[in-house]
């Protein structure tokens, strides 16, 4: 059942020509051979048990995930990271319309915790991934555009060359300078 050594100087006796007789096995060699069979059979059994015990669950898990994710549209798949952080994807999509390549974005957010992240962390995580090739900065004075997520941009004390508000919400995009 097992592959054989590739060392060309040696070949198993069963492969050798009839004229080449195997040397007599020294005492203990058969014992070692038996031990080897026991050891490899044990390892093979344990590994197969491991595979059998988890393989079915894995198979069903792959199929389930395939059904769930396969039902999503490409746009829904793209938004899933955002939705998972409870940042509103429609707000990020709206903001993305005003972001240009080369922009440096500052995120202004109120200080509270959503699940295991602060809102600032969540918005920043999403923004720095979703809004590339624009980049995120931590200092508002270095920003070319400020995104206020449920916050008041005038509190930053910056002067803006243009501003937009999403409906009557507390979400603002404020341009400080061209990129």
């Amino acid at each position: 059942l097992y592959a054989l050594p590739t060392d060309r100087r040696w070949i198993p006796s069963s492969w050798s020509s009839s004229s080449a007789r195997p040397a007599a096995a020294p005492r203990g060699r058969s014992q070692v051979g038996l031990l080897w069979w026991v050891a490899t059979a044990t390892i093979t059994t344990v590994a197969l048990l491991s595979a059998v015990s988890s393989g079915g669950k894995l198979w069903r898990g792959l199929n389930h995930a395939d059904r769930v994710y396969g039902a999503l549209s490409p746009a829904e798949r793209q938004r899933l990271p955002i939705d998972n952080t409870t940042v509103q994807s429609r707000v990020m999509d709206w903001f993305a319309r005003y972001v240009l390549p080369g922009d440096r974005i500052y995120f202004q957010t109120p200080d509270f915790v959503i699940n295991y992240l602060t809102l600032e962390q969540a918005v920043r995580y999403v923004g720095r991934f979703y809004l590339l090739p624009a980049v995120v900065v931590t200092d508002p004075t270095q920003a070319t555009v400020v995104f206020s997520y449920a916050a008041d941009p005038s509190a930053l004390g910056l002067s803006f060359i243009a501003q937009r508000q999403l409906g009557g919400s507390g979400n603002w995009v404020s341009r400080v300078a061209p990129p």
């Binding site: 031990l35 080897w36 197969l48 199929n63 931590t138």
Partner: protein, 452 residues
């Protein structure tokens, strides 16, 4: 979508060509027949070499896309062909009957990989680390062509200290697709899994019982955490696969210094070191373990291999230093502060408990720890002391390395372990299981010398 999949396949075909050309240089093939027979290994070698080259070239502002990768493949094939002209005889074919059970197991593995492929073509980025760190870095490399500030230098971004192997591999696909695609990037991770299985089979089969090797690979692939974590697009399972290939090749070389094993180990360990910072710990542990167990006559080769791996990792550290990026998840300088070490000793015990608990979590890794224990015990019973010593030393040093990281981490231990302990152990488990077939090579058969 179909065109994008074709583009990813084209990129991977060129990686395969890079690997095919490198096989003769790594002394893993001497004739064209060898190259063809070892194409699965060529894919793994090509992916590792391409990832390393892309990570290094990115540091000097050269993005690897259609043109560069085609040139790399052409140069590799041309140079490899030159080497093959002086090649030796082809390897002898083995009786197929003996390997049929192992081939049947490989077919089962392929079925699982095929099922995973269905999922990976529709899986979105869900896991926080997957998109907030790894996909962000890959997308930035695609957008800018090189590691750009502030994405790779500012504390506003995460994972600054992580090297570029995996993001660059994904960025190559985006350049071929001419678009970022957060779903199809999973196909590159699946490609890594295919390269891992094919590479391990082709590389280790001459040095391990084929059925044990095949079932070890099956046990790895069917562990729920394997595809579960691969699907998150984090780098932990890719790191584990690369390091495991390197460690298994090194273990085989420790036992029998066959040509090609040490160069292959060096390549895969270097690729692992360029995937995540823990990779450097695992690679160093492997070289230290090999240095300790081989005879003095072979230690020079181990040192040279370690230096080559280190040389490939140095440019990234120079880049980090030049851009004043400091490590954020650990601070090894604290190891020189006895007061700190004594005061934070409790972190070690907690980390040991947490890591061991994750290692033995059956719902994640099935019975892989039992497979590793069975392999180590078998090696001792069969008196394969050198291989057993190497495996034990690598596992112990790697585990100790993880403990050092948790001991010196600036983060609160609870959240640090909660966020990472289930993934940092991947390499220990996958590497440990892949070592098992090498630990129990072959029965002591009556043998005769081949007549001259």
């Amino acid at each position: 979508v179909t065109l994008r999949i074709v583009a990813i396949c084209a990129a991977n075909a060129l990686m395969l060509a890079v690997g095919a050309g490198l096989l003769p240089y790594l002394r893993l093939a001497t004739t064209w027949r060898d190259v063809v027979r070892r194409l699965p290994l060529a894919y793994a070698v090509g992916m590792a070499a391409t990832g390393i080259a892309a990570a290094e070239l990115a540091l000097v502002g050269i993005p690897v896309g259609w043109i560069v990768l085609t040139c790399l493949a052409a140069v590799s094939l041309f140079a490899g062909r030159h080497r093959l002209e002086a090649g030796g005889p082809a390897l002898r074919a083995r009786p197929r009957l003996r390997t049929l059970p192992a081939l049947a197991v490989l077919i089962v593995i392929c079925v699982f990989l095929g099922n995973a492929a269905r999922l990976f073509t529709v899986a979105p980025l869900v896991d926080l680390d997957g998109w907030a760190i790894w996909a962000t870095r890959a997308r930035a490399l695609y957008d800018f062509g090189h590691p750009v500030a502030p994405v790779f230098t500012s504390s506003a971004y995460s994972g600054l200290q992580y090297p570029l192997f995996l993001p660059e591999l994904e960025a190559i696909d985006f350049r071929f697709m001419t678009a970022f695609d957060g779903t199809l990037l999973h196909l590159q991770l699946l490609g890594l899994a295919i390269a891992f299985v094919g590479g391990a089979w082709t590389l280790l089969r001459p040095h391990a019982p084929s059925l044990v090797l095949a079932v070890a690979l099956l046990a790895i692939v069917t562990a729920p955490a394997f595809f579960g974590q691969l699907q998150t697009a984090s780098a932990d399972v890719p790191l584990a696969m690369l390091i495991s290939l390197g460690v298994a090749a090194l273990a085989a070389w420790v036992r029998t210094p066959a040509a090609g094993l040490l160069p292959a180990a060096t390549l895969f360990l270097a690729a692992g070191a360029l995937t995540k910072n823990e990779g450097e710990v695992f690679a160093l542990s492997a070289f230290v373990a090999a240095f300790a167990v081989v005879g003095s006559g072979r230690r020079g080769q181990v040192v040279r291999a370690a230096l080559v791996s280190a040389a490939l990792a140095v440019p990234w550290h120079i880049w980090l230093a030049a851009h004043h990026v400091t490590g954020t998840s650990f601070d090894l300088s604290r190891l020189l502060d006895p007061g700190y070490l004594v005061g934070h000793w409790h972190r070690v015990g907690t980390a040991v408990n947490e890591l061991m608990s994750h290692i033995w979590t059956e719902s994640a890794w099935s019975r892989l720890p039992v497979v590793i224990c069975a392999g180590l015990v078998s090696a001792v019973v069969l008196r394969r002391f050198q291989a057993a010593a190497f495996a034990s030393a690598w596992l112990s040093l790697s585990f100790a390395g993880l403990l050092l990281v948790y001991w010196t981490s600036p983060f609160p231990l609870g959240s640090d372990l909660y966020n990472s302990a289930d993934r940092t152990i991947d390499t220990l488990l996958i590497g440990g299981v892949l070592l098992v077939p090498v630990l129990v090579p072959f029965a002591a058969r009556p043998a005769v010398a081949v007549p001259a």
